[in-house]
């Protein structure tokens, strides 16, 4: 099943030009693995990048640069093993349980305090109502959830900004796992939310 909810053109352009911070880039990459349509879009933007590169003026190179590279060709290492999936390439910490069968695995935080984490929620779980103080990207890896009347299934991508409050609700039948990058911690809209946030740091 191919995803039906995609990153915006602007997000794909930032991804292709390499302007996204790594946490956000990873969430887009996870969507691309599920989405042939967006992979073609990114390839088209990279073709634009290639054409722009070809039209750049040339910088002078160090006189011995080419010979140095030519000499290094023989020692060039064999190519790395075939790429693993995005999730396998991220070093996540141990899972911390928020409740039985509800856990979070963080992958450290970026230079500007942005967070990247895996969130696992059980079938039927309603999250606490919350908003965001900055941008949040989500790619669903497993299961599905409803949010503001829209259904997000495995492979789907969701971008939230600071304007909206929401309360995702996991569809009954299967647990839901998401890869999430957020610019800042959430903005909890209830007291219970504040307490959970104090305990988990998201």
């Amino acid at each position: 099943m191919t995803p039906t909810r995609h990153p915006s053109d602007a997000v794909l352009a930032d991804y292709a030009s390499g302007a996204l911070r790594s946490a956000f880039s990873a969430v887009v990459a996870a969507h691309l693995e599920h989405c042939p349509h967006c992979r073609d879009e990114v390839a088209a933007l990279e073709a634009v990048g290639g054409a722009l590169l070809e039209t750049l003026p040339e910088s002078g190179l160090a006189a011995e640069g080419l010979e140095r590279v030519m000499a290094a060709l023989d020692e060039a290492e064999a190519p790395a093993a075939p790429a693993q999936s995005t999730i396998e390439r991220i070093a996540f910490g141990r899972e911390r349980f928020l409740a039985p069968s509800m856990g979070i695995r963080k992958a450290g935080s970026g230079a500007d305090g942005e967070l990247l984490y895996l969130l696992r929620l059980p079938s039927g779980q309603k999250t606490l109502p919350h908003g965001h103080l900055g941008v949040e990207f989500t790619t669903v890896l497993k299961g599905a959830y409803n949010d503001n009347g829209a259904l997000y299934r495995a492979g789907d991508f969701c971008e939230m900004d600071s304007a909206a409050d929401h309360q995702p609700h996991v569809v009954v039948g299967e647990e839901c796992v998401c890869l999430i990058a957020s610019e800042r911690p959430m903005r909890m809209t209830t007291r219970v939310g504040w307490l959970v946030q104090a305990l988990t740091g998201v």
Partner: protein, 188 residues
């Protein structure tokens, strides 16, 4: 002094095939002379000091040599492929320098590749069309596209630099990218 080749009269995909099939050094030399000086410019525009840009341009070309067998001429142009290698090296090198925070993430975005294959000549024609479209973009659109691809600046900063409202920068960028993107054809 050899004549500096230009990518316009060189079959770059053919040279890649020679490298992949028989580690052809003279093919590599030609590609180096086409791409390394431009990759260096790309990195300098992104704020790399000249020496670092030189080093990363060399590393980009070494990566092209090492991964030559992965290049698929039906899924990307050589230019697009080199662009993604240089982009990934730039991102990695920036991350390494910034990652005193021990950001536990090493993502190597895959190199350029479409899902939908095309013929080599379609891809070559697309690159020619793109280059000529770039040279005829209205200057104000070309400026935002170049800033967005080559200077790693958030749109808000580009707007400030050009003394334009953010909305104007976004709409110019959208227009220009849609126009260029349209030339790549409907892949999906």
């Amino acid at each position: 002094m050899p004549v500096r080749p230009s990518e316009e009269d060189v079959d770059t995909a053919g040279l890649m095939a020679l490298i992949a099939s028989s580690q052809d050094r003279s093919a590599f030399r030609t590609l180096f002379m086409i791409f390394a000086p431009r990759v260096k410019t790309y990195l300098i525009r992104h704020g790399a000091p000249a020496e670092k840009a030189e080093e990363l341009a060399q590393e980009t070309m070494l990566t092209l040599w090492r991964k030559a067998t992965y290049f698929d001429p039906q899924r990307a142009s050589v230019g697009a492929w080199v662009f993604t290698i240089a982009r990934n090296l730039r991102i990695d090198s920036l991350r390494r320098e910034r990652s005193a925070v021990a950001y536990a993430l090493t993502v190597h975005e895959p190199e350029a590749s479409t899902v939908t294959p095309q013929t080599e000549s379609e891809i070559a024609q697309t690159q020619v069309r793109l280059r000529s479209a770039i040279s005829t973009l209205p200057p104000e659109q070309l400026e935002v596209v170049q800033l967005s691809f080559f200077e790693d600046k958030p749109h808000a900063e580009i707007a400030q630099q050009l003394s334009l409202p953010l909305g104007t920068v976004k709409s110019r960028l959208r227009l220009a990218l849609a126009r260029l993107r349209g030339l790549v054809g409907d892949l999906a």
